[in-house]
């Protein structure tokens, strides 16, 4: 896929760029989160001011408690505002992540559409689903926690620092001295967290892999009577990985311990400085002006100064997770799409009752064309069979006709349209069904079909007998009692959709390959009916019965197409 030769550094940069582009789309919620957090931070500062004020007035000035009531009420108000700020911060953060994830999923799906079915088929459905669901979900922590906290860990400590400087510049300097250290902490913590995260994920996934491997092969282990030995092996391996992981963790935790240490020491130094200052032992600097109010306030603010940073370091793994998921998502988003839309197919002209291919060339690698200079005219209502060796280009020709791939050269017109610009029937080798009723499955492609039409279509492909057994007819679930459809039945279900939709053009890729004899008969019959109904059918096949159904058999071989 694309970007494979990029260095990791540029890759990281690209991922960061993509994440901030997503963030721009949810600016409103990120800002609201930061504002709510700032409100909570300011309310905290006010809370501490009031707290220190009350203590000072009560203890030093011996103000009677009744006179302190307004201050107490303000204090409770400040606490309430703080709680509201916190609550809204969590709410906005959740909303932000919600929106980001929706945007990311839209982007991904758009890319799927651009890539088209053929390109998309290169990746497993499970892997694509994992990207669309789990990788996108992995962005949650970054947008809900890390990103807002980045802003807050600048704003709130700055406000506190300003206040402390105003109260006592020497105490302010103590805090400020730790400020240049903070980027250093962050780097340390970051490196530690990143390593920790990597190590953790690697270990977990390696362990899960081995564990899953043993579970998958459990039958084999049972056959050899070795399950107990395997259990012991799992224990030993797990234990081995634990010891390795702990070695890294011991180092990784050190970096956050450094942050913790500086926070604790700063509090201790400030407490002792203020104590000595209040005693009058310090004869220089601003300490003469210290009061219980200013001293206590500085002490109460000191932990709040470090708190946003500690929170940020706790959320650091969210960033690592988002970067990891982002790398894979971006790779998908940047994978070179075959430009289906801008294919040089020319304008939609040509006659409306023929399919015309004019000197069409398609290659996947530059040196070897799969199809070379193919010119072809197919009349409306014809039944065309494509035959030839596997790898000869039959599927590619069908994909070109379907518009799933764009030709490199030449032009194609299908009944006066460009490929893929109109609705047609497609039957792949794998049938496609969704969980739901028969009706749901058929209305996927023809939403306004009547019940009778649906039932007729199902009977046309020989699924009538299955339907008869179900109590609710077409409104009964396709897979009942955990009993799914066989491969052949699933393909017939897809064929029923084609019957229902009444398309002019129907493309089928090996419609009878790998079918049980029952299904084969039904598919042949159904195709015959479609042919009689005047549809244009183009299919690839080696199947003799199908070839005799065709009006014209084309041999696709070595990049050329000619009548067989």
């Amino acid at each position: 896929m694309g970007g494979g030769d990029d260095s990791p550094a540029t890759n990281q940069k690209a991922v960061r760029g993509w994440l901030s582009q997503l963030a721009r789309g949810s600016r409103f919620w990120i800002r609201s989160t930061i504002i709510a957090g700032t409100v909570a931070g300011v309310a905290t500062i006010i809370q501490m001011i009031l707290f220190a004020r009350i203590v000072h007035l009560g203890v030093i000035d011996n103000v009677p408690i009744a006179e302190l009531t307004p201050l107490f009420i303000s204090l409770i108000l400040a606490l309430t505002v703080r709680a509201l700020g916190q609550g809204f911060q969590a709410r906005f953060a959740a909303r932000c992540s919600e929106q980001v994830r929706r945007d990311a999923r839209r982007q991904l799906h758009k890319q799927w559409q651009t890539l088209g079915p053929v390109e998309l088929g290169q990746s497993s459905a499970g892997a694509l689903a994992r990207e669309w669901i789990d990788h996108v979900d992995a962005l949650h922590g970054y947008f809900a926690r890390f990103l807002p906290q980045m802003g807050l860990s600048l704003i709130v400590p700055f406000l506190i620092l300003a206040l402390v400087f105003w109260l006592d510049w020497l105490a302010g300097i103590f805090l400020l001295l730790s400020a240049p250290l903070i980027p250093l902490f962050m780097a340390l913590v970051g490196m530690g967290a990143e390593k920790l995260n990597q190590q953790h994920f690697e270990t977990i996934s390696r362990l899960s892999g081995q564990f899953l491997d043993k579970v998958r092969g459990l039958t084999t282990l049972q056959l050899f009577g070795q399950t107990e030995g395997a259990a012991e092996l799992i224990r030993m391996r797990s234990d081995y990985y634990r010891r390795i992981t702990m070695k890294t963790l011991r180092i990784a935790f050190l970096s956050s311990a450094v942050l913790e240490f500086f926070a604790s020491v700063a509090i201790a130094v400030i407490a002792i400085y203020i104590g000595f200052g209040l005693l009058g032992y310090i004869t220089y600097g601003p300490s003469e002006d210290l009061t219980l109010f200013s001293g206590l306030l500085i002490l109460l603010l000191a932990p709040e100064f470090f708190q946003p940073l500690r929170t940020l370091s706790q959320h650091y793994h969210d960033r690592a997770a988002a970067m990891g998921a982002g790398t894979e998502l971006l790779e998908r988003l940047n994978s070179p799409a075959n430009p289906i839309d801008v294919a040089p197919t020319g304008s939609a002209t040509g006659e409306t009752d023929v399919i015309e291919l004019d000197s069409v060339v398609k290659h996947f690698r530059s040196d070897q064309p799969v199809l070379y200079d193919v010119s072809l005219t197919i009349h409306k209502g014809q039944v065309i069979a494509l035959t030839g060796p596997s790898g000869g280009g039959k599927s590619t020709l069908l994909h070109l006709l379907a518009g799933f791939l764009a030709p490199d050269e030449g032009s194609m017109h299908l009944f006066g349209n460009t490929p893929g610009s109109f609705q047609f029937g497609w039957l792949g080798q794998k049938g496609f069904l969704v969980q739901g009723t028969w009706a749901d499955n058929l209305r996927l492609t023809t939403p306004d079909a009547s019940d009778i039409a649906i039932e007729t279509a199902l009977r046309n492909v020989g699924l009538g007998s299955l339907l008869n057994n179900r109590t609710q007819g077409i409104y009964s679930p396709v897979s009942e009692d955990g009993q799914g459809l066989s491969g052949g039945q699933a393909r017939r279900l897809s064929l029923a959709r084609i019957f229902l939709a009444d398309y002019d053009l129907i493309l089928l890729d090996e419609p009878t390959a790998g079918l049980d004899s029952d299904s084969e008969v039904y598919v042949l019959e159904a195709l015959h009916k479609l042919a009689v109904a005047g549809k244009t059918l183009i299919f690839s096949s080696h199947h003799q019965a199908l070839l005799t159904l065709a009006d014209r058999v084309l041999l696709v071989s070595g990049g050329e197409v000619r009548d067989a």
Partner: protein
């Protein structure tokens, strides 16, 4: 909650570690609270003494004890925090091992039929996500909750000693409410959402996979956009439920935080009453509210953990359901085998659950030392027949009696492990010489002799990649090493070219000397030497 019981039992099998880990967390929390509380006390004391000194009154203050205490707590908070993290992560990893091993043991006594009910992706999520939810149960939920309760009691005790019982009860009461808001309250308001989350996620995954599988058809019909819009709505519903959960957790956190702060305000108010009555001193008055403010940090972890509890219980429920041990299958009493007979299948019916029978009234008697071939087209059910003869597939009718057997399944199963470990499965006692000799016979000796790790070559994803034919021969070697008198081989030569197949067939004659062999294949050229051949007709 009952779902958690087996896992909690497992976790509490390590009481020593849990208690030490808990004590380390407690020491961390108390150091943090004490650092602030003593500092507050110290500042107030110095302020009062400072005023006296300024007024010319001779006052003394002991600077060493509080100064030392402040320095001690600053260092102890860091040290205990570090020790606690290291120690408890070690515990979590040990618990993970315990859970995995327990789960594996349970699974290995479950029937294959039930194991097969889940898809690979579902197993992956069971064994990773669901297990992950359990291994952090102690560190995220049990320990913090227990310690928060303990610290709350300790603070209330301190309040009753320093202040009076009334203050202790009132602030303690507020704290209990805060604790409930942060724990039970969160759980009650989120468990429904959290429990359904995983099911919804799995439904969504199914829908996405269906969408991708139907992509060509949907594209042809011009419906990808419409169907995608529906999918995005589904995904959004899942996210929205998560958003609701997160918001609720956030509000509960804010609420419990508010209550903790209110308890500090309350203690300050009550303290002033006592202070002005001359019962407590100024410095002591400051100590308690500051300690209470510090309690917020102790509660901060709880709402998030309890917000996930619903999902954790659902996870353990799924694990209990899917990994439950089966009652041993009621095997028909093992009949005595007549002499010189290796296997008797008497009137057996082979069928998969919920499917029509593949064979009914199937009879087969195999004499000792006989070599039987069974031929059938793919899809004729010969692998199911082999499974039934071995006993992997329970019979729904008839009786089967056989000697000890070893079975080469149609699917080649090798483990991500060394070559040696893979081979030793067949014969745990085999010497290296025996292994090499068997590899020689399978024409694999050269292949592995050139590998740097020889018998310790790592197979599977992380190690050297074997071709299909090589993997098949390793699996065959493993079966041939086994001493069981009856050997059942299902498509033994998959992926082998005709010449290799012929040479190995020849060697197998002597390796299998004296054993009874039943081989199954789709065509006679894929069978080793046989005395007689049965044809299965579908």
């Amino acid at each position: 909650m009952r779902n958690l019981k087996p896992w909690l039992d497992l976790i509490f099998k390590r009481p020593g570690r849990l208690v030490i880990g808990g004590l380390l967390i407690l020491a961390t929390l108390l150091s943090g609270i004490a650092l602030l509380a003593v500092s507050g006390w110290f500042i107030t004391e110095t302020a009062l003494v400072g005023l006296l000194l300024a007024a010319g009154v001779a006052a003394t203050i002991n600077l060493y004890v509080p100064g030392g205490a402040i320095r001690f707590f600053a260092v102890s908070r860091t040290v205990f925090r570090y020790l606690e993290r290291v120690y408890n992560h070690d515990t979590v990893l040990r618990l993970l091992t315990d859970i995995r091993v327990a789960l594996f043991r349970r699974l290995s006594s479950a029937s294959r039929a039930r194991r097969g009910k889940l898809s690979g992706a579902q197993w992956l999520s069971r064994l990773t996500n669901d297990v992950d939810a359990l291994d952090t149960l102690y560190l995220r939920l049990i320990a913090p909750t227990a310690l928060a309760a303990l610290v709350t009691v300790l603070v209330a005790l301190v309040a009753s000693v320093l202040f009076d019982l009334r203050t202790a009860l009132l602030t303690g009461g507020v704290l209990v409410v805060a604790l409930l808001v942060a724990t039970v309250g969160v759980y009650l308001r989120t468990w429904r959402l959290a429990a359904r989350q995983s099911d919804r996620q799995e439904e969504l995954r199914t829908a996405v996979i269906e969408h991708i599988e139907g992509f060509p058809e949907l594209t042809a019909a011009g419906r990808t956009g419409k169907h995608a819009a529906w999918l995005i709505r589904q995904a959004h519903q899942v996210t929205a439920a998560q958003t609701r959960t997160d918001s609720r957790i956030g509000w509960h956190l804010a609420g419990s935080h508010l209550l903790v702060n209110l308890s500090a305000v309350l203690s300050l108010w009550l303290g002033f009453v006592l202070f002005q009555a001359g019962i407590v001193s100024g410095p002591v008055l400051v100590l308690l509210p500051i300690a209470l403010l510090g309690l917020a940090e102790v509660y901060a972890m709880l709402p998030d953990a309890f917000g996930k509890l619903g999902a954790t219980i659902a996870s353990s429920g799924r694990l209990n359901r899917d990994c439950r041990e089966d009652a041993p299958h009621p095997q028909a009493a093992a009949n005595e085998l007549p002499a010189q007979t290796a296997l008797i299948a008497d009137n057996i019916t082979v069928k998969h659950p919920d499917c029509p029978p593949l064979f009914s009234r199937f009879n087969l008697t195999v004499r000792s030392g006989e070599r039987i071939g069974i031929l059938g087209q793919s899809g004729s059910g010969k692998s199911s027949l082999a499974d039934a003869l071995v006993g992997l597939l329970p019979l729904c009718q008839g009786q089967r009696t056989r000697q000890n057997c070893v079975y080469l399944t149609q699917k080649t199963v090798l483990f991500e492990d060394t070559l040696r470990a893979n081979l030793l499965l067949g014969s745990p006692e085999a010497s290296d010489t025996e292994l090499w000799s068997m590899l020689e016979q399978m024409e694999l000796a050269e292949r592995f002799a050139t590998e740097p790790d020889q018998l310790d070559t790592w197979l599977g994803n992380a190690g050297s990649r074997l071709s299909g034919g090589e993997a098949r021969r390793v699996a065959l070697a493993r079966v041939l090493l086994n001493p069981a008198p009856l050997v059942i081989l299902d498509e033994p030569f998959t992926g082998l070219d005709a010449e290799t197949r012929a040479r190995i067939t020849l060697r197998m004659q002597s390796i299998l000397e004296g054993k009874t062999v039943i081989s199954l294949a789709h065509g006679s050229d894929a069978l080793p030497d046989t005395d007689r051949v049965l044809h299965l007709t579908g």
